[in-house]
Amino acid sequence: MELKGPRALSELLGRKVVDQSGRKLGRVREAKAHWEDGAVVIDELILDRGGLRRRLRGPGGPEEEAIPWEAVVELPGEQVVVHR
């Protein structure tokens, strides 16, 4: 299995997100992180419209569905495989 951690943000953005049965869930548009002792740690991937909305408008407004990082199984090729 490929190393799970991505090396750069650009590697995540635009990737197709699929579940283990290969069903497409969307594309990564934004990543939500939290501050931890001065570091920024990613905890969610936000897809499609919700992600674009966050990218343009930032925090606030209604919550959208997101993929928690723990659900990410692997990052083969140009995909993100999640388990749900």
């Binding site: 990218r55 343009l56 408008r57 930032g58 925090p59 606030g60």
Partner: protein, 406 residues
């Protein structure tokens, strides 16, 4: 008194930037073809540019971020790059058209070959930009452009049927494609994107902060108001003189004819002089806008206030853009034709410029209590919708009407 002097920023953006060769030509043609019928489109465009200029100036003053900075930040690299390429093409075409315009006016004043004047005017611009500080450049072109008030005097001298003029301000839609093309053209010429690129960067050149917000609003209203009055005047004088006898103004020289008709040589010289400053100011604006955009997109140090030593890439890019502008202008393409294409292409670049401005200006995390209020938000989104519709209509109209050639 100081407050009056400070409005110069708005005035140059309005006169030197707003009333450029595109406006001069489009408004005169609009008057000749449709008499006063398109006055409403002129007003629509002026209010639009005032709304967005105010917004971009406010964003720059509060957050210190000019328009292309905001574009890269919000639209990201890919869309930002698209906006950069589109804006740069439009700005370069505009610059070339303005350089050509300066040369035409000089040709009319001094009767020497056009090609020579393109070079001479570009050199004059370099000298002016190198010697004068940013504020001085603004005032030089802004105050010079006020000579064009002779247009307003001409309106009163002609004393048109004011009822007819008044009816022109009521929006009307004629189904002919030529009419629609001119609606798009007049509107787009008013909202040329380089105006906000230049205006917002100018706010940072001048070191604006929250304290300058009142001035910003005044600039947008008074400055673009003046530009609007002059545009309206141009439509009226042209509609009054040219429409009945069927003149088709295809040249910059024709724009000055009504003023000669009213006030003889004095009127002519005032009109040509005013046009020279306006077009010259627009050449400065569009060339600076091109380098501001590039530098801001790539994160370079930029600004006339930094001087060439602190911002060498910015300065070098400005010179390169100027050279490219000269090359296009010298290629012998009629500046008026370049203008028509650049104005219509500009509409396509407009949504990419104005959406991020609108988003940031409404973003409380950035703008805090200076974020867009209800009026600015409403007007902003209404105009954005209009821009998107026109952007979609622009290219088919350009092709269908053969660039207004009928």
């Amino acid at each position: 008194m100081r407050a009056i002097l400070k409005i110069a920023l708005g005035i140059i953006a309005a006169i030197g930037g707003f009333l450029d060769i595109g406006d001069l030509v489009f408004t005169t043609q609009a008057g000749a073809l449709f008499r006063y019928d398109l006055l409403w489109a002129v007003v629509l465009g002026v209010v639009g540019i005032a709304v967005y200029a105010e917004m971009s100036g406010r964003v720059a003053a509060v957050s210190g971020r000019p328009v292309f900075d905001v574009i890269r930040m919000r639209m990201g690299f890919g869309m930002g790059l698209l906006a950069l390429v589109a804006s740069t093409i439009v700005n370069l075409l505009t610059l070339a058209a303005e350089l050509g315009g300066i040369a035409i006016v000089l040709e009319l004043l001094f009767d020497a070959p056009y090609g020579m004047f393109v070079f001479a005017s570009a050199i004059a611009l370099v000298v002016i930009a190198a010697l004068l500080p940013f504020g001085g450049i603004e005032r030089f072109f802004g105050y010079g452009g006020l000579l064009l008030f002779v247009v307003v005097a001409t309106v009163f001298h002609q004393n048109p049927d004011w009822g007819d003029v008044g009816r022109g301000f009521i929006p009307s839609i004629d189904s002919s494609t030529l009419y629609l093309y001119f609606v798009v053209g007049v509107f787009a010429a008013a909202l040329m994107p380089y105006e906000v690129h230049f205006y917002s960067s100018g706010a940072i050149e001048e070191g604006w902060t929250e304290k300058n917000l009142k001035e910003n609003r005044l600039n947008a209203i008074v400055g673009y108001g003046i530009g609007g009055i002059l545009s309206v005047g141009l439509v009226i004088v042209s509609g009054y003189l040219f429409h009945p006898i069927g003149v088709q103004p295809d040249d910059l020289g024709t724009v000055a004819l009504p003023m000669q008709g009213a006030f003889g040589e004095t009127g002519l010289l005032l009109a040509l002089g005013g046009m020279l400053f306006c077009v010259g100011g627009a050449a400065i604006d569009s060339s600076f806008a091109a380098s501001y955009n590039l530098a801001q997109f790539l994160g370079w140090e930029w600004g006339r206030y930094q001087g060439p030593r602190k911002a060498p890439r910015f300065t070098a890019s400005w010179l390169v853009f100027l050279l490219l502008g000269i090359a296009i202008a010298e290629s012998g393409i009629n500046p008026v034709d370049i203008t028509e294409y650049s104005v219509v292409l500009a509409v396509v670049a407009l949504p990419l410029t104005y959406l991020p401005v609108l988003l940031i200006a409404g973003d409380r995390s950035f703008m805090d209590r200076y974020a867009n209020g209800r009026i600015a938000t409403t007007l902003g989104w209404i105009y954005f919708a209009v821009i998107v519709v026109l952007a979609l209509a622009a290219i088919p109209l350009l092709l269908a009407t053969n660039a207004g050639g009928g």
